[in-house]
């Protein structure tokens, strides 16, 4: 029956996806020969809200681009406006922002591990990783007051200070999380049954990954050293960390990179707490923004750009966001070619799809 093609629709409602994306899988027998993604199920058009909401209120809209990487979106927007308005925020703010950024990366990566475990059918591992994630959410709630959407950022600093005692209390908690992740790590990286689902699945070479414009852990898993944190925004210039890469280039490599980044985030948070300077948590802001700026940051899923253009009025003229998942979709379509239909859910999960970011 070779040569007879059929189209299998995947999504928008699918058990493995928390969010809707639709992929048409053109298959020959059990092999996928082509994958055609189509998006737009959660397009809200929130970039257009800049013309309706005050530039200060827009921070909350920017945070709601996505509920998982919400902190980063808020940061990108706030940072762009602070550059336009030439606001120098205190060092303490930069350190707290870095700390919160890493906490949100930590929760995002642990969440991904859980979804991955669910995708390869390891239910108890999924539950275990999400149990660990709740501890990170507790820390975030202690620091900001919110579990997934924090609304602590404002132009010129933070809406409230995070007390030093609260941050000191994070250290033993972080050690415990590191220990518990260590206990799960074997299941992801050493278990033969899990490896048979991950090794060699969805291989993409570093060259191809770069050509297709991949971002984040997906790109680093193919051995390309690219991490926007090395640009040194916020307090990243003052903490020690290395860009984590893997030589594998397959689903196993992506798992490995994300697990290592969890430990790295923990180390960055600890460094921030140790070096935390004293000072104010915000500076006063006067006037309206006039000018344009592009901020580039590293989200848990990869590099993201925030462009803001404003001409001295209460309302900004244009905001544009470029998100990592959108950049990873062409490579996803490429890696889906030639894989088995049964491996499709795993491959879709390996790019850590965040459709809300993609479509905004």
């Amino acid at each position: 029956m070779a040569g007879k093609r059929s189209v299998i629709p995947f999504g928008p409602q699918h058990p493995v996806l928390p969010e809707p994306i639709h992929i048409d899988l053109v298959t020959e027998d059990e092999k996928v020969v082509e994958a055609i993604p189509s998006i737009g199920f959660i397009h809200r058009g929130l970039e257009s809200l800049v013309t309706k909401k005050d530039f200060n209120d827009m921070v909350y809209v920017a945070e709601r681009i996505c509920g998982i990487c919400s902190y980063g979106h808020g940061y990108g927007y706030v940072d762009a406006l602070e550059h336009i308005m030439s606001i120098e925020v205190p060092d303490r703010v930069q350190y707290i922002r870095t700390l919160l950024f890493e906490l949100s990366r930590l929760h995002s990566h642990i969440l991904w591990l859980g979804l991955m475990a669910d995708a390869f059918g390891f239910e108890s591992l999924f539950m275990e990783t999400w149990r660990i994630r709740e501890k990170v959410l507790d820390m975030l709630e202690n620091a900001t007051g919110g579990r997934v959407i924090f609304s602590i950022l404002k132009i010129g600093g933070l809406r409230r200070d995070v007390p030093d005692e609260v941050m000191k209390g994070f250290i033993p908690e972080l050690d415990r999380i590191a220990e518990e992740i260590k206990a799960c790590e074997g299941a992801f990286l050493l278990d033969p049954a899990v490896q048979s689902r991950l090794r060699g699945v969805g291989y993409i070479s570093g060259k191809d990954a770069e050509r297709l414009g991949c971002e984040g852990p997906f790109l680093r898993a193919s051995g390309v050293e690219w991490d926007n944190r090395t640009r040194g925004y916020a307090a990243y210039g003052e903490v020690d960390f290395e860009v984590i890469t893997s030589k594998e280039g397959d689903s196993y490599g992506r798992c490995e990179v994300r697990i290592k980044e969890i430990y790295q985030s923990i180390s960055i948070i600890k460094q921030c707490i140790e070096k935390m300077p004293a000072g104010n948590h915000s500076v006063p802001v006067k006037g309206f923004p006039n000018g344009e700026h592009m901020t580039v940051i590293e989200q848990p899923r990869g590099g993201a750009c925030y462009y803001v253009h404003s001409s001295g009025k209460k309302f900004i003229e244009r905001m544009r966001v470029r998100t990592p998942t959108f950049a990873n979709i062409p490579a996803l379509a490429e890696t889906l070619k030639g894989c088995d239909v049964a491996d499709v859910p795993i491959l879709v999960v390996t790019i850590d799809p965040c459709i809300s970011c993609t479509e905004r």
């Binding site: 996505c66 969440l111 275990e128 709740e134 809300s356």
Partner: protein
């Protein structure tokens, strides 16, 4: 409280920011653990009793939401999770958002919050259980059936004209 059955949940993201969606998932995991009552997050609309819909519905998504709702067997309850699903929330003014879930399908329980907290969600599910029982009772005694999405759309139209 005694629960009469273990309802199965179906979750679908009708154009939300994802915050409520991960909280829906978090409600089934060990900290909140509704699974200990046999409440399972299923992926199949045909198996589901309670439909958790998050986010204000957008134009492209409305048919998918309707389709999922129509596929669910009676008795069924729809839960609007989060402020966006209740009335559009922060995205109400966006050009692509229709409003809350109730612009497309009938909603029984509204759970506000941005993002909705798992505790609030569990409270909503408990309320939904009561409604589910009532509907099952009505089905036994009077041949009750839920409105289909098409009938609901007509009803909304009539309301507008009146």
């Amino acid at each position: 409280m005694r629960i009469s059955k273990s309802p199965w949940l179906l979750h679908y993201d009708g154009s939300s920011c994802n915050g409520c969606d991960i909280e829906v998932l978090a409600a089934t995991t060990p900290r909140f653990d509704v699974e200990r009552f046999g409440i399972i997050n299923t992926g199949n609309p045909r198996h589901a009793d309670i439909f958790l819909c998050t986010g204000g519905v957008n134009s492209q998504n409305q048919d998918v939401v309707r389709q999922i709702y129509d596929q669910m067997p009676d008795p069924k309850v729809v839960l609007a999770c989060g402020i966006c699903a209740c009335d559009g929330g922060i995205f109400k003014e966006c050009y692509n958002i229709l409003g809350g879930t109730d612009t497309v399908i009938p909603v029984d329980v509204y759970v506000p919050g941005c993002a909705v907290r798992p505790e609030a969600l569990i409270d909503g599910v408990v309320k939904a259980l009561k409604i589910l029982d009532e509907k099952a009772d009505k089905m036994k005694h009077g041949g009750y059936r839920s409105l289909t999405s098409a009938e609901y759309a007509e009803k909304l139209k009539e309301g507008e004209n009146a």
